[in-house]
C-alpha cells in the first residue's frame, strides 16, 4: 500500500517535528553560548522570533479556515532561526517583524509547509536587512559587555566585527582559538563554530540535512577565499576568517539544507552548494551588507527545481552514452 507522508518528506515516515525538533535542539546550545557573552538578550531575541512566527502561522491558518499546523514545528524553527541570525543588540521587535514577514509572505501564501519556494527564514532576514539595516549590523564587543540590557540598548558600546573590518579594507587580528571560541563581535548564531559543526554532524546523522550541500558549499567558499583573499593576509588566514565569521557556516548548516527548498537529487545538491558558495563569496566581495549570506540562499532557492531536472537528465544521458560506448 502506498503511504503518503506529510510534506515535505516524500519518503519520511516520521512526524515533521522529528526534523524540526532536531534543528531547535541545535539552536539551544548555540543561543546558550551567545548568552554566556551577552546575558539573556540573545535568548529573548530567539524566543521573540519563535513566538512571532508561531502567532503569524496561527493567524494565517485561522484566516484560511485551516487546522493550525503549529505542531509540525516549522514555524518555530523559522522564527528561532531569524532570531539567531540577529545581532545581540537588535531591538526585540525586529525578529518578530522578520518572522511575521517570513510566515505571512513567504510561507503561508504559497500553501504552508512543504510548498514554499524560498526559505522563509532567509526571506525574513533579508526583509529585516533591507528595512532595518542600521539596527541589524551593529555588534557589541563580547569581551567588554557584562550582559546587555534587556530593552534599551542605546548606550551600549559597539565594536567593529571582523566582517566589517574585511569589508572596509582592514585586517582583523584573530587567531584560530579566538575564532573557534566565538570571542569576537558578530551575530548570535555565528559565535559557536564548534557547536555549528556539531549541529551539522547531528543533523547528518538524523538525516535531516544533506552533507552534499554543506560540503560542496564550504569547499567552494574555502577555494574562493584561498584564490581571491580580500586582504593580503595569506591563504590560511583568509580561509579561516571567511569560514568562521559572519553567517556563512550558520546559513550552510540551517538554511541551505532545508529539505523543502533544497534540491532532492544528489548531483543537483552538489551543484546547488557550489552555486551558493560562489554567490556568498561574490556578495561578500561586492555586496552592500556586512552579512548577506541569506540573499545568496534566496537566489539559489529559485534554481532548486531546475537543478533537479537538469542534473537528473544529464546523468541519465551520461549513463545512456556510457552503455552505448560499452556495447
Amino acid at each position: 500500500m502506498l503511504r503518503a507522508s506529510v510534506a515535505p518528506h516524500l519518503r519520511e515516515p516520521r512526524h515533521p517535528f522529528y526534523q524540526t525538533g532536531g534543528v531547535l535542539l541545535c539552536l539551544l546550545p548555540l543561543t546558550g553560548f551567545s548568552c554566556m557573552y551577552y546575558g539573556i538578550r540573545p535568548l529573548l531575541l530567539v524566543l521573540f522570533g519563535l513566538l512571532g512566527a508561531m502567532f503569524t502561522e496561527l493567524l494565517c491558518c485561522m484566516a484560511a479556515h485551516r487546522r493550525p499546523t503549529l505542531s509540525d514545528g516549522t514555524a518555530a524553527v523559522t522564527g528561532a532561526l531569524i532570531g539567531a541570525m540577529m545581532s545581540p543588540l537588535t531591538p526585540l521587535w525586529v525578529p518578530v517583524i522578520g518572522a511575521m514577514f517570513a510566515i505571512g509572505v513567504t510561507k503561508m501564501p504559497f500553501g504552508g509547509i512543504g510548498r514554499n519556494i524560498f526559505n522563509p527564514a532567509a526571506a525574513g532576514m533579508a526583509f529585516c536587512a533591507i528595512c532595518f539595516a542600521t539596527r541589524l549590523f551593529e555588534y557589541p564587543d563580547p569581551s567588554q559587555s557584562e550582559g546587555l540590557p534587556l530593552w534599551d540598548t542605546t548606550g551600549v558600546i559597539t565594536a567593529v566585527s571582523p566582517m566589517q573590518q574585511l569589508a572596509g579594507g582592514g585586517v582583523p587580528k584573530l587567531d584560530l582559538v579566538t575564532l573557534l571560541s566565538g570571542d569576537f563581535p558578530g551575530p548570535i548564531g555565528s559565535a559557536g563554530i564548534l557547536i555549528l559543526v556539531a549541529s551539522a554532524l547531528f543533523l547528518f546523522v538524523r538525516r535531516s540535512s544533506s552533507p552534499y550541500i554543506l560540503v560542496s558549499y564550504l569547499v567552494t567558499c574555502a577555494v574562493i577565499a584561498a584564490l581571491f583573499p580580500r586582504m593580503d593576509i595569506g591563504i590560511g588566514m583568509s580561509v579561516q576568517l571567511e569560514l568562521c565569521t559572519g553567517l556563512l557556516l550558520f546559513c550552510g548548516v540551517f538554511l541551505l539544507s532545508d529539505p523543502v527548498t533544497a534540491p532532492r537529487f544528489w548531483l543537483a545538491r552538489i551543484v546547488y552548494g557550489v552555486m551558493a558558495g560562489i554567490l556568498v563569496m561574490v556578495l561578500r566581495h561586492y555586496g552592500r551588507f556586512v552579512c548577506s549570506e541569506f540573499f545568496a540562499v534566496l537566489l539559489v532557492n529559485s534554481f532548486s527545481a531546475v537543478l533537479d531536472r537538469t542534473c537528473w537528465s544529464l546523468l541519465r544521458r551520461f549513463r545512456h552514452w556510457k552503455e552505448v560506448v560499452r556495447v
Partner: protein
Amino acid sequence: MKQRPTVRSLLTVLWDAFLPRNVVLVQAMGLCPILAIGYDLKYGVALAVCTALVLVPANVLLSLFGEKFPLWLRPPVYAVFTSVLLLGAAFVLHQYISLDIYAALYLFLPLMAVNSLFTMRTVSVQTERVQPLLSLADSLGAALGFALVLCVASALREIAIFGTVWDVPLGITTHFPEAQHPFIGYVLLGFMAAALQWIQQGLRRLSGRKGETEL
C-alpha cells in the same frame, strides 16, 4: 460586413479588461512605474491619468489605421506614436498641473512609451479587437484597471510611509519609510493579485448560486 457591437458587449469588454483580465494583477504588465513611483497617491493619480490619455487614443487610432502598416513596422510605429502622446501629456502636466508631480514623474513618463502595457495592448488591438468601439471599451477598461491598482497601491504605501492620504494626515504616528522600496510594492501587488482572485472566486460562486435559484 462586420456587426455593430451592442452596448452589452461593449460593457462586457470593458469589465473584462477592468478586473478579470486586469493589466497589472492578471497580466503583470506596467509593473515598473507602480513599483518605482507608486508610493504617493498624487503621483499615482497623475500617472494613471497620463496612461489613460495615451492608452485610449493610441488603441483607438491603431485599430483604425494600424492595418495599413506592415507587421515588421508596427512596433516602432507604436513606440513613436505613444511617445508623441506621452510628450503631450508631460507638457500638460508640466505647464498646467504641477511642477512637483512632473519632477517626480520626469524619469518614468518617457519610459512609459516602451512599457509592455502599451506595446502589448496595441498589439492585441491588431490581433483581437479591430473594431474601434470595442477597442475603445477595451482600452478604457485597461486604463481604469491600471488606475485602480496604481491608486490603491499608492494610497496604501503613502499611509505606511507618511501616515497621510493625498497629503491629509490620518493621525498615524508609526511610520514605515521602508515601504518606499520597490520590493514592498512587489509584495503588495502579490497580495492584491491574490485578493482579486479571491473576489472573482466569490463572484463566480455567487453567480453560480444565482443561476441555481433561477433554474
